[in-house]
Symmetry: C2
Subunit: 369 residues, 2 copies
DNA sequence: CATCGATGTGAGTCCGGTCTCAATCCTACG
DNA sequence: CGTAGGATTGAGACCGGACTCACATCGATG
């Protein structure tokens, strides 16, 4: 009846107990559904709770159960549909199992990630799912793992830490995709990535991102297997904002020894790369072949539709959440899942123009200057 | 030195106090940086904390400060970049102010939303940002508001609740866009939306979504102002999955009195609509004009680039977070922000074919059968 | 009819912090 | 030299539940 009066402080078990004229302990039992409670008491308590519209304080509950029923998710950028989908997979699964998700964005910045992890730990999340910004600088993650808190990596690995990781075998798919381009006669294949580094790419350098490192490695392997020299000069990192992506694209597509195919390392930079290509007056795939990571729905709508590398991102999210939940509930880990990306051949890769003029060189494996 | 030994339970103020040989109260003061503490004690405590790598338990802290420094965000679908961007705006702003974000997805399902709100309240979030799934059935939100917990709506309104709302004036932009189509000679303009309803659209019906209701209203106004009859039969709701979007698109584009322009109510269904148009062998904008809500970057890449209605989503997220923070910190609300969407004319809207054949009817306002 | 085990029940502790309050120290002023 | 008043400090209450423990209660068993 009287909806008012509840002003400020919210009702607690003690209030309910008083209203039901039983002890706090009994009220707690009836409410929490544990221990032994007589039907009479249970009814009175439940009625009182209803009347006062009692809601348990999860903070208090968490404090002495030690479980917050919350998991922390740390990703580089939710704005990127790649992570959006993964997050969706995680939250869907978490919710089903009764867990909530605290989401933190790091902008792929390690300092922000360190901070995020610390904050989540302070909030006593039951477990963490992280897309490590760096697979090299992993001190903070190792600490989490050492402390025994459940942890799962998604999308990338972090060094060789013995932590369950839900990611695609990038080297494999990169090799396959590169082979596909090689078969089409391309020899000058550019790879453009946002990965921030201190210096331009050089063969032996250590890359923060396992993903990118693996992709480059895959390309190298494909070239190697075909007995062709890997065009290291066309690996271009630090494609941060639109302007730099554009200028890098222009660079690799101009000059005497320009690229005939371009691989974009994610769906976000792909947009600027394609625009830059169009601005140069080049057409895909007649003049330049194009390939990108991430199978976003819009890639079917462009002219031509884009050839992409599809990753089972949603499923990786689901698997990450499931694995984490298993860890949190003390169950043994399931068999490590294997995620395979697939090359979706649409229309943006065509035969290499120069190669077409010289049919001989279209056969991979042939020796050429 | 001894990193081990910490097994299980984590270190508390009491532990630090003991190590620094001071009382729990003093340790807490030094750590929490409040009250009066001598330099000597502070140093000892801080050193001990460092040594034991003490980290405060935010749960405990929240419990008796009553502030969790966490805000709850409830959206329909993070997978949709529209919300992805908004979320980004919210989290960026929240983080800057020292707040964390718990994200909950509702799949635009009211029951899920009710549940989400309850859970967040149980977790004692300091405030809520909600994109209401329904602007009609708002009991749970009214309750939140009545209880005095800070609340801000984003993207949509919820009835006429006196709650700060960060949304675009949909009726206005819809009228403008419709006028644009009318000026191009279109009279049969279809509007396709995912909004779930029990029955097909009929003029007087109550729509759960204020957004959609406003858009339809804007269209009606534009027709009215031009003295033209509003084609109610072309308002098509319940475009849930790809298949239904496709079949609806086919329906409105076939038959004797088919639509000459199609408006897609969000970026996700736009994909299927465009595909369906292409499958019908129709070309944009020669045969059909197309317009969509949300200015996603890929809309620049299609052929032709798509004409869209751009909404300042990120900024709405920022504003929502700012408004909420103001509320949570007891400051007076800022002047209500006004967000205006803009019509980005690219290439997907062209003159109406039939109209072109009869130049007279291109002048809006003319009476026609 | 005494005994035993299975409930029921209330008092009180604990979780890990914050915060009040009274006691103790110091130092400068009269 | 005595002491008022601010700076320090420690004991303990408290936040809101979960849970332990000791103490009934009660029907069933021997």
């Amino acid at each position: 009846m009287k909806a008012e009066g509840a002003r400020r402080r919210d009702v607690t078990v003690a209030d309910v107990a008083k209203a039901a004229r039983v002890s706090k302990a009994q009220a707690a039992r009836a409410l929490g559904n544990y221990g032994a409670v007589s039907d009479d008491v249970r009814e009175r308590v439940l009625a009182a709770a209803e009347e006062l519209s009692y809601r348990p304080n999860e903070l208090a509950r968490s404090m002495n159960t030690g479980k917050s029923h919350t998991i922390g998710v740390v990703v580089g950028d939710i704005e990127n549909p790649h992570f959006g989908l993964a997050t969706r997979g995680i939250t869907d699964t978490a919710k089903k199992a009764g867990y909530n998700v605290i989401l933190v964005n790091t902008d792929e910045d390690r300092a922000a990630e360190v901070d995020a992890v610390r904050v989540l730990l302070d909030k006593r999340v039951d477990g963490l799912i992280v897309a490590p910004a760096s697979s090299v600088d992993t001190g903070h993650l190792q600490e989490v793992h050492r402390s025994g808190r459940p942890l799962v990596f998604i999308d990338r690995t972090a060094g060789d830490m013995p932590v369950e990781t839900m990611a695609v075998d990038m080297a494999r798919i990169s090799r396959e995709a590169t082979q596909y381009l090689l078969d089409a006669g391309h020899r000058r294949i550019a790879f453009i990535s946002t990965l921030r580094t201190d210096a331009p790419y050089t063969p032996g350098m250590t890359l923060e991102s396992s993903q990118i490192a693996d992709r480059i490695e895959g390309m190298r392997q494909a070239f190697l297997e075909s007995g062709l020299p890997f065009p290291e000069d066309l690996v271009r990192l630090n494609a941060g904002d639109e302007d730099s992506i554009r200028s890098i694209t222009r660079e690799v597509l101009r000059g005497p020894d320009q690229a005939t195919a371009v691989v974009a390392s994610d769906g976000l930079i792909a947009l600027s790369v394609v625009e830059a290509i169009q601005e140069l007056g080049l057409s895909i795939p007649a003049d330049v072949s194009f390939l990108m990571y991430d199978d976003f729905a819009w890639t079917r709508l462009t002219t031509p539709p884009l050839t992409v590398i599809a990753q089972p991102v949603y499923n990786m999210g689901v698997a990450a959440a499931k694995a984490l939940i298993r860890q949190m509930e003390g169950q043994p880990p399931a068999a490590p899942a294997q995620f395979t990306a697939t090359l979706v051949r649409r229309g943006s890769v065509g035969p290499c123009r120069e190669a077409a003029e010289d049919p001989l060189s279209r056969r991979a494996g042939a020796r050429l200057s």
